[in-house]
Symmetry: C3
Subunit: 139 residues, 3 copies
């Protein structure tokens, strides 16, 4: 892993071929990060994103099996069941000038992904909320 | 309100049904926040966004009365006329895989909204600029 | 230049007519900023964005010669060849409710651009990677 810490902030370079969700999960476990704010840009070889459906409690999944710019990638690291819990949303742009956005399910890095992980001192865990069907922040 | 402060940063969970602009305004008044950087993701039940028109000095308003992912929501809290002034832009994704973006006029939270409010020590106020018709940062 | 520093963070107001990439480059040189995280919103009179093509090593350029909201603008300041190196991605929205996103090549500010530049203590340089054809972070 290629990264460096500056005060409260890690800068991570995620290379072509890595899967972002798995990579960040492993990174947080290795560095014992339990709480952080995440922001990144880069490029993807492919991604799967989703838009939630409150009625079914599932995501409308959209598979995007082509090269895209990661125009925005942001979210958080919190904690659930004793493990880092990654939650990111993204905006992507493909080579036909179309934009795609939503909840990040998975993404393979296409050229590089330049990520800031700003660590916060503490812990926020998540708990399944039955009304909305999602794991919400608990304080 | 569900939130917790970690050093300079508040993490806020805004629940289904809350209107984001009003909620954040009330939160900043309650916590005496005069200056902050804001970033969030989440889901919306509906939103109204706009794109400014320099000629008319008004926003082209787009009403989006359906469920969407909040792929990006960012901006600032500054101060005007002695009150917190919220300015946010957003990128949204609906269940037909369309993206919508612009200046946030209003937004009802759809499932949850996970927001970081990083407080800065000081004050920046706004003043109406007659040339562009908007309230600009003054230092 | 209109800006003010609060601890590690500069708030910059970039006015109508300024070109964002050149402006931020000059600002970083003037303030001796070698490493920073950047986030902004605002409006643009025009912009050129791109989506990279790994096969040709070039960007598919899209010229957008009209007024747009800057819904998201984020990235970093690092260093290359002894100079600040600006890398930003953006999401834009035009007055026909279309969204545009990608790597920022250039952008003229349309009404105002409100930017946060959070300085990190240290240096990260870039080096051309022959496999992907881009200047990647080196640690």
């Amino acid at each position: 892993m290629l990264y460096k810490r500056f005060n409260d902030t890690y800068m991570l370079r995620i290379d072509k071929g890595e899967e972002v969700m798995r990579f960040l999960q492993a990174f947080c476990e290795q560095e014992n990060i339990t709480l952080a704010q995440v922001s990144a840009i880069g490029a993807a070889d492919s991604a799967a994103i989703g838009v939630y459906d409150l009625e079914t409690g599932k995501y409308h999944r959209e598979d995007l099996p082509f090269f895209m710019e990661i125009a925005s990638l942001s979210g958080s690291v919190t904690e659930m069941n004793g493990k880092p819990y990654i939650h990111l949303h993204t905006v992507l742009a493909d080579q036909q000038n179309r934009t795609h956005a939503g909840h990040l399910i998975e993404m393979a890095v296409g050229a590089t992904c330049e990520m800031f992980v700003r660590v916060l001192p503490g812990e926020v865990s998540r708990k399944k909320d039955e009304a909305v069907g999602l794991n919400l922040w608990t304080f």
